[in-house]
Subunit: 140 residues, 2 copies
Amino acid sequence: MKYQQQAIEKLKEYDVHPSIQRVMILDYLLSCNVHPTVDDIYSALLKDTPTLSRATVYNTVNKLVEVGLVRQLKDIDKKEARYDACLETHGHFKCVKCGKIFDFKVCDKLILDKKLEGFTVNTKTVYFQGVCPECNKVNS
Amino acid sequence: MKYQQQAIEKLKEYDVHPSIQRVMILDYLLSCNVHPTVDDIYSALLKDTPTLSRATVYNTVNKLVEVGLVRQLKDIDKKEARYDACLETHGHFKCVKCGKIFDFKVCDKLILDKKLEGFTVNTKTVYFQGVCPECNKVNS
DNA sequence: AACCTCTTTGGAAAGATTCTAACTTTAGAA
DNA sequence: TTCTAAAGTTAGAATCTTTCCAAAGAGGTT
C-alpha cells in the first residue's frame, strides 16, 4: 500500500468516493508498472481481501477510466484489457517475442495533423509492436 | 463488390487463397471506411450469402490480420474489435459524443523517441479520443 | 474419378464482461 | 446516536464475443 495516501487524494480530486476497494485498486495500479489485466488485479488483491468480487474490480476500473484517472489499453493484449494509471502522454511498445511492455515518451505536439483542427483531443494512445533489443540480440 | 478484383489480387499477393468468402470480406473492408466489427461484416454479407458462418468471418479477419492485409483495432470499441483494410500508417480519432471515427495522418518519423533505438517497430497504432468539430458546435 | 489439402460450416464451449437483486456501508439530517 | 436515502459491494446468473472442433465442401492434381 505504498501509494495509498496518493490514491485517496486522487480519488477525492476526481470526485470519486474513496472506498476501501477503490483505494486498494488504484493503489495497486499506481504501484505496478506492468499494466495489469482485471484478473491480475483481482488475483493480487484477493490475498489480502478474500471477500473481493470480480465485479467490483470491473466496476472500479470502469469508473476510474470514466473519470480519467486510468487508461484502458485493449490492443496490447489479444483478449483481456489492461489498465495503466500513468496519466502522462506516453506510448507503449510490446515485444512480440518476449511479450514485455515498454513505455516510451511521445512528443505529442508532433503527431498533430492539420486535419485535426477543430477537434478536442482528450486521450492519446500510441502503441507500437515489434521486437525489443534483447530479443533482437538473441536471434541474430 | 466494387473492390472485388483488387481484393483477389491482394489476396494472391499475400499468398492467401482467394476463396469466395475471403474475397467478399476483404472487398467489404476495402469498400467501407467505417472500420466495421465482425458482426457488422457478418450482418452485411449475410443478406447476399445466407449460408455464411460467423466462424468464417472470424477465421478470415484473423487470417487477414496475420498476413498483414488488415489491421485490428481494439481500443476503439469497448467490447468488439474493429477492422481496417487501409495499410498506410494513420491515426484514428473517435468522437466520444457521436461515436464517429475519423482517420488522420501521422507523420510517423516524428513519433520516435531516442529510447526506442535498437527496437524493431513493426506496427504503429495511434488512437485519439475526444470531441469532433460537429459535436463541438452543437454544445457551444 | 480418386485423392489430397485447404476452407467453410454450425454448434458447442470457453472466456471476458455486465447485469441483477440482495446486502452493506456511508454521509448527513434529525 | 439513530434514521434514511444514496452509493457501493457482492455472488452468481446472464450475455456477449471469440475460438474450437469435427464433419462436410471446394479446388486442384495425378
